[in-house]
Amino acid sequence: MPSKVLDLDLADDPGDVPGLGAYDRAFVLLRWRGLPIGSVWLDVIDGRLPAADLWQAAHARHGRAITHAMAADALPCPAEPPLDDVSLPSATVAVCTKDRPDDLRRCLAALCALTPPAHEILVVDNAPSDERTASVCRDFPVRYVREDVKGLNWARTRAAREARGEVIAYTDDDATPDRRWLEALLVPFRHPAVAAVTGLVLPLELETDGQELFEQYCGFSRGFRQRVFDARRISPLGAANVGAGASMAIRRQLVNDLGLFRVELDAGTAAQSGGDTFAFYRLLSLGHRIVYTPAAIAWHRHRQSPRDLVQVLRSYSVGTYVFLLRCLLFHGETGAIQVGFGWFLGHHVRQLLRRAIGRANAQPFGLTLAEIQGVLMSPWALWKTLRRERSILRGNATAALPATEA
């Protein structure tokens, strides 16, 4: 039972949405004059989405946000000459990709439509098995860089070295950024204390069961209010709540100086995921500030088949527990014990029990078991990442290796 993903601006007074015969439900992003204010799930009735239902649901779920937006429309903003001349920093958009030319084409088309445009768009082709990615890039005004060492974090590190902008904004090849994505990510950087900005990630499509399950159990959405994160507000061990690699911007100098993306982590390595989480952890634990802004929207194409979902959940689980073990063993974060066990009991065991007693919307056994499998694999994965780290240190790749930790 597929669902339609819709993007509607309430200020434009949308009427009934017709032509939804193939769908049972709709997932609607609600905006007001371009700014996202919330999302709602609605039933499709006779192939259309009635405007009355939409307004009713919008009022019920997001009435407060709509009230504030309407009040803003009614009151003109007093025009005062600005005090400061702070302009937005220059930015490089970096896409790290591996053998997904079709996704990449959609992503680049969106990036080339950004308003205002990016100073530079950089594609890092990570250990490609053929020339398809290179040929897609020839169709767009982008810079193409080939990184032959396999690993997402290796590609991210390479991107930061190659980039010329003050800020580097990362997105994934399976994400489609909104037209205003980059601008929204850059606005918080006006404040010198902000080290990184993350954005809202929503599903591009929900055409298969796999995609719906993905959105339900590991969607990236972090809500519709701007949030500030620092070590005083959340534990750096909760860095996964800060955002996701599909939509994040970081001051480039920090990426290079801190060696923020440890090359032995994330996709393409034994740790499988979590390179972005570890980067956020490092930033938070070193006293930096990260802002989450829902105004920066990227649409992520979730994996289609349920089997892929199992694989993704397992890899997230491995990445999370490699991250926690690493923090505990090498960064003296004793809180990692509590977080690790807490997550295991509060999520994995709880979901198993809920399923066992037949609760609705409990996570399917298969998914939870895959996650538990990931937890059990994590010590071995950590060992392998450490071995890889050491071999990198010894090997001739030191030129590309980021600074080591103190």
Binding site: G63, A71, R232
Partner: protein, 426 residues
């Protein structure tokens, strides 16, 4: 004649002043357009030598006084200044190249006000430092607040690290009070007098300097003690700002340690606190248990604050009676009523005609709400009222407006307001 005079007080600052002067040497503003006045607070041959050796490319004047505190030093520096604009800079601040131009530009755009600069406290490399985390986050939050167009400036926003104002205004207000010897708060106190003169405060995000600051636990506690002493002095001089000081926490049952279970502080408990908290603090820090660390260090700082306040008041009972005598509501304020049906653009003239501290808003016959006076804050501006109308007053504002207006959304707004009202009632 220079366009701006930079006053830098320093006390035994030989190790700090070098980078500060070097940063001023690489300003985008031509060297002839500014002068630097370093005030040595107490005889200090070492610092004198550093300054002489630096040979800065701009005019630099060194003033020396017997050790009398930073407030006195800043007054001396201001007296020696030749330009119409003063910039107070701390001796551990490195100006970014555009700092002076940014201050000047702000004063050109909005003459006759105070321009508050911004600073960052960058961390060196890979060191995890729980103590610095708290201070950094506090400053970052502070500047984020100041940058909001709807921020209502108060005396607590006036900090001397990086701030500029016309010398004339500084003189009108009477300069820094020299009563604050072992106490912090002479900047707040001047802020109170400047606001009372009707001087506008503004914040310039690009008037940026880098604070080369090394946090230490002892310094942090001493700072809390100084604040306690300073707040008592401020409360005695200006009782009307008492509600905006942390001292007001003591009004109900004396000083309280806030928390899940509030703990009433007594002289005995205050005396025992450092010894009791020491070991848990060290443990929380070593194990990186941040939440526990924050609670414990917050408690220690609160205790140090009350210790300082108690010292300044003279005794525990003197502090208690001082606090009990303070007013909790603003004593005298100017309040107006405004009808939004006359048009929102009529609000600015109404607010500029006289200094307004509080406002009652209505739409035709419908009351919408009130913006209360705030102790020690600037008078109301249009941006404050707009912010309140977009925020907490939005539902009533829209409800009052809907029946009168015949806009396209009128009916919809009406139903919306009803549904939100129902929602909030449920």
């Amino acid at each position: 004649m220079p366009r701006i005079s930079i006053v830098i007080p320093t006390h035994r600052g030989a190790s700090r002043i070098g980078p500060t002067l070097a940063a001023l040497a690489s300003q985008t503003l031509p060297h002839g357009d500014f002068e630097v006045i370093v005030v040595l607070d107490g005889p200090d041959p070492a610092t004198r030598q550093v300054i002489a050796a630096a040979q800065p490319p701009f005019t630099i004047t060194v003033v020396e006084q017997d050790h009398a505190g930073a407030a006195q030093a800043r007054n001396r520096g201001a007296a020696a200044a030749r330009s119409p604009l003063l910039l107070f800079l701390d001796d551990d601040m490195s100006a970014v190249p555009g700092l002076l131009s940014a201050h000047l530009r702000s004063h050109e755009r909005h003459p006759d006000g105070v321009v508050l600069g911004c600073f960052t406290q960058p961390r060196a490399g890979h060191r995890v430092d729980l103590l610095a985390d708290g201070a950094d986050a506090w400053w970052a939050d502070h500047f984020a607040q100041l940058a909001l167009p709807s921020h209502r400036f108060s005396f607590r926003d006036f900090c001397t690290g990086n701030v500029s104002l016309p010398r004339e205004r500084f003189v009108d207000a009477g300069g820094f009070s020299t009563e604050f010897k072992q106490a912090a708060g002479e900047d707040y106190e001047l802020g109170i007098r400047l606001l009372r003169l009707g001087v506008r405060f503004r914040f310039a995000l690009d008037a940026l300097s880098v604070h080369r600051y090394a946090a230490s636990w002892a310094k942090s506690l001493e700072r809390a003690r100084e604040e306690g002493r300073g707040h008592v002095i401020i409360a005695r001089l200006h009782p009307e700002v008492f509600p905006a000081l942390s001292l007001r926490d003591a009004v109900e049952d004396g000083p309280v340690l806030k928390g899940d279970r509030p703990l009433r502080l007594t002289p005995l408990r205050l005396a025992a606190a450092p010894a009791l908290l020491h070991a848990p603090l060290r443990m929380a820090r070593a194990l990186k248990l941040r939440r526990q660390w924050q609670k414990l260090q917050g408690a220690s700082r609160v205790c140090a604050y009350w210790e300082g306040a108690c010292q300044q008041a003279g005794s525990w009972s003197a502090l208690q009676s001082l606090v009990q005598d303070m007013p909790l509501v603003p004593i005298a304020h100017h309040e107006i009523e405004f009808d939004l049906a006359t048009g929102f653009d009529q609000l600015t003239p109404a607010l500029t005609a006289a200094a307004v501290d509080a406002i009652r808003l209505r739409y035709g016959p419908q009351p919408i709400g009130r913006i209360a006076p705030q102790a020690g804050a600037e008078s109301l501006r249009t941006a404050h009222v707009r912010h309140a109308l977009l925020g907490r007053l939005a539902p009533r504002f829209l409800a009052a407006r809907a029946p009168l207006d015949r806009g396209r959304h009128a009916q919809r707004e009406h139903t919306l307001v009803e549904s939100t009202a129902l929602g909030s009632a449920g």
